[in-house]
Amino acid sequence: MIHLKNIYKKFDEQWVLNDINLTLDKGKCNLIIGESGSGKTVLMKSIVGLVKVDEGEIWYDERDFNRMGKHEKQALRKEMGMLFQGAALFDSLTIEENVMFPLNMFTRETYNQKLKRVNFCLDRVGLKNVNKQLPAELSGGMRKRAAIARAIALSPKYLFCDEPNSGLDPRTAIRIDNLIHDITLEFDMTTIVNSHDMNSVLEIGDKVIYIYEGCKCWEGNREEVLHSDNKALNNFVFATKMAQKIKKADPT
């Protein structure tokens, strides 16, 4: 579980995060949704420590992230996996080397043990016969899956996914969503997904947090998101013509 208390962050004189209080539950897909520029990426980067918050507390279970020393933070980060928007695989390494990278860095396993783990992770995300290929040789969806395999290589307790569906076709996007949901349940992780894709929200949103202009505007789950009377949320959820037609056809 991750708990955020009164998080504030500003760039220049602009508040990007304004008094965010959140609890991100274990064993669930916690979706942070919002328009582009609403502050959700800054929020995720603040949680993982890539951006330093101006005020507030970030608790990983019983551990206060802001009060940790450099080495404690490094130790905690071994419990994190992150899927970046562009996958962020290392260009010069093959897929096998990418997935093996955290194992090489932080374990003392033999090569065969590590290879077994790599193959398990790749198999788990549905990638076969790509071990010796470079990231540039894979499609966008395959790269995302390889990045998920790398993220779960060390069996993390916390999984962060920044816009996992960006640039993917709807079918591949749903596959990625389901994969994230399945591994969250399988490994009992605290998963946080940044998205502005409503399909993801309805597919895997065990808990949904709507960020609007740097503030937490609404919190609920995928069933409740369609029936909220929050105006800002409704403007976001029913922004497309298709969503408006669905709402018109079934106002309940």
């Binding site: 980067k45 993982v48 420590g49 890539l50 933070k73 490094q74 130790a75 905690l76 980060r77 071994k78 994190m80 992150m82 970046f84 928007q85 562009g86 962020a88 695989l89 290392f90 260009d91 990278f101 955290p102 090489n104 860095m105 932080f106 962060f160």
Partner: protein, 248 residues
Amino acid sequence: MLTKALANIGKYMLLMKSVFSRPEKRTVYYRQTIREIESHGLGSIGIITIISLFVGAAITIQTNFNIENPWLPRYIVGVTVRDSLLLEFSSTMVGLVIAGKSGSSIASEIGMMRVTEQIDALEVMGVNPAAFLILPKLIAMVLFLPLLCAISVTIGLLGGYLICLTSDVVPVSDYIYGIQYVFYPYYLTYAMVKTAFYAFIIASVAGYFGYRVEGGAVQVGKSSTRAVVLSSILILLADLILTKLILH
């Protein structure tokens, strides 16, 4: 402008502090260093060979042209070519060529990793990205560039020999006698120490500019250019300071 320069020096120092922190796993860093030696060291032998060969030949012709005097023995050309290469040409040439070749490559490689979030990925994993990306390059270059300097001196002397052999600049026997005449091994040490300093400048400055890129491909290109320009200036400044300190 002065404030900006001081701020950059401060940021550079902080980056170097991160670079020299304890590696997460020595074996991984060791393997990475070997890869960097292959890429920035062995990969540069070709260009250094070609440049040194021509520079050696050109220095021989110019030296002969400038000291053509019946009172001076002909072997002086060999002595001057050898000492010019050892004391100045080879180390500075290796420094400036590698600043252009490897400096831009390091800055753009790390810069691209920054803009494609690969550095963030390393950080989230718990790896110290500054140390992992810059330290192996720094060690590889500090170890290998002095060797490149020695290769450059040898090939430069060979260039002089070939020009003597194929033209009537200086008799070959005088040239051979000259390059062996009153040789101070300390000159070689001096050249290699200077090159090791240049290697540190190239790897750390290029690493700094790459690491601090913000934006996209245009900024990566700009930071790569800045890295080469600043490394070249610092190499020439270091040349002056080290010459004053070591030779006087």
